[in-house]
Symmetry: C2
Subunit: 222 residues, 2 copies
C-alpha cells in the first residue's frame, strides 16, 4: 500500500526521535535523560514528542521493539544453518552474545523494559504488545532448535522443549546480564575475584547447559 507524503514524513519524524533517544542513551545513560533533552537533540519542541509517543516510557518501548526486531532477525538467520539441534542452541547463544556486545543500547533498553513488567498501564499499550510478541518469537526460535535437537538425537528428549526453552532463555539473560556489567566496568565486587572475559563466561555457560541437555549417547562421543 502506498503512503502519502504526509504519512512518510510522520514516520520519518518518529524514527528521528527514536534515533535521537538512542544516541542520548548511549552518551548519557538511560537514567540521565529528560524529555527536554530528547526534544533538543531531535530538534523539535517538547510538545512534538507527545504527538508521536504517549510518554517517555513509550519512546523507550519503541526502541525496545526496534531492538527485538533486530535480535529476532539475527536469530532467524542463525537457525538457517545446517547443524544438529544442540549446535543450533549454541549458535543462538553466541548470536545473542554478539548482539549484546554490538548493541549495548538495546540491551540497556531491554533491561528497562523488563523492569516495567509489573507496570499496569503498560499492559494496555500497543507497543508493549508488540514487544511481547517479539519476545515470544525469540522464544519460538529456541524451542524450534530444541525440537530439532530432540528429533536428530543431539538433545535429550526427557525435557519438555517449551519448559527447557524458558529455562535456557532465562538463564542466558542472567549470565549475559552479569557479563555485560562486568565488561562495562560497573562496580561489582562479586566479579573482582575472577578474571574472565565475556566470551569465556558465555562459552562456559554454553558448555554447561550443552552437556546438561545432550543425549547421554552423544555426550560420550566428546
Amino acid at each position: 500500500m502506498k503512503l502519502t507524503r504526509k504519512e512518510r514524513e510522520r514516520i520519518a519524524r518518529r524514527e528521528l526521535i527514536i534515533d535521537a533517544t538512542e544516541n542520548l542513551i548511549d552518551r548519557l545513560g538511560i537514567d540521565n535523560i529528560t524529555m527536554d533533552t530528547i526534544a533538543t537533540e531531535a530538534e523539535v519542541g517538547k510538545g512534538t514528542l507527545y504527538l508521536h509517543f504517549k510518554s517517555k516510557k513509550s519512546i523507550y518501548l519503541a526502541i525496545s521493539e526496534r531492538g527485538s526486531r533486530l535480535l529476532n532477525h539475527a536469530f532467524g538467520k542463525a537457525l538457517l544453518k545446517e547443524l544438529p539441534g544442540l549446535k543450533l542452541i549454541e549458535e543462538l547463544g553466541r548470536t545473542y552474545l554478539k548482539f549484546v556486545q554490538e548493541n549495548p543500547v538495546y540491551f540497556t533498553v531491554f533491561n528497562y523494559y523488563e523492569s516495567l513488567i509489573n507496570d499496569d498501564d503498560l499492559a494496555q499499550s500497543e507497543l508493549a504488545q508488540r514487544c511481547e510478541e517479539s519476545a515470544r518469537e525469540a522464544m519460538t526460535y529456541i524451542v524450534r532448535a530444541l525440537q530439532i535437537g530432540m528429533q536428530d538425537g543431539s538433545i535429550n528428549n526427557k525435557y519438555d522443549p517449551h519448559e527447557l526453552g524458558i529455562v535456557i532463555w532465562g538463564a542466558s539473560r542472567g549470565v549475559i546480564h552479569m557479563a555485560f556489567h562486568k565488561q562495562k566496568k560497573h562496580h561489582m565486587k562479586i566479579l573482582d575475584d575472577v578474571n574472565f572475559s565475556l566470551q569465556s563466561l558465555v562459552s562456559n555457560f554454553i558448555e554447561l547447559i550443552g552437556t546438561g541437555m545432550a543425549n547421554d549417547q552423544q555426550s560420550k562421543n566428546n
Copy 2:
C-alpha cells in the same frame, strides 16, 4: 560495647523506617512509593527520613542489605548439610527459590538494586559497599560447594570453580527472575504457552546444570 539509650533509640528509629518501607513495597509496589508516604507510614516527619538516610535510594539499599544478610544466613545453613558437592549446589538452588517465594519484597529490592548498577554516586555509598560484600559472600558459598564437589568427585573439575560459580549465580537469577514474574501474574506472553510452576521450572534448571557439571562417572549412575 554498650550503647546509650540515645544510640539504641536511633537504631530503632532507623529500623522502623525500613520496616515501614518494606510494608509499603509489599502493598503498593516499589514504584508507587513517595517519601511522604513513607514518612506517614513510619509516623515521622519527612525531614526525619533524611536524618537516617541520604536519599530514597538509600532506604531501598538498606532493605537490600537486610535481605542479603537473611539470604546469606540461609545459604550458610544449607552448606552445613553433609552432602556431596553436587547435592549442595542443588540445595543452594532450592534455598534461593524458597527465599524468593517467602520474601518477594527482598527479591523486588534486589532487582531494584541491580538496576542501579551503573549509577555512579552509588559506588561511594557505604551501604552499597555492604551490599556488594554480601553478594560476594553469597558467591563464596557457591564456589565453596563447587570446590567440595570437585574434591569428592561429584562435580567435573574441568571448570574453574570461580567462573562456574558466576555462571551458576547469573543463570539462577535469570531463571528465578522469570519464574517469579510468571507467578506474580505479570503479563509475559512468552510464558503463556507453557503451564509450569515455579517449582518445576527451577527443578528443571537444577537438573540441567546438575547434569552439565556432573562427573561423567557419576552421571552414569543415575
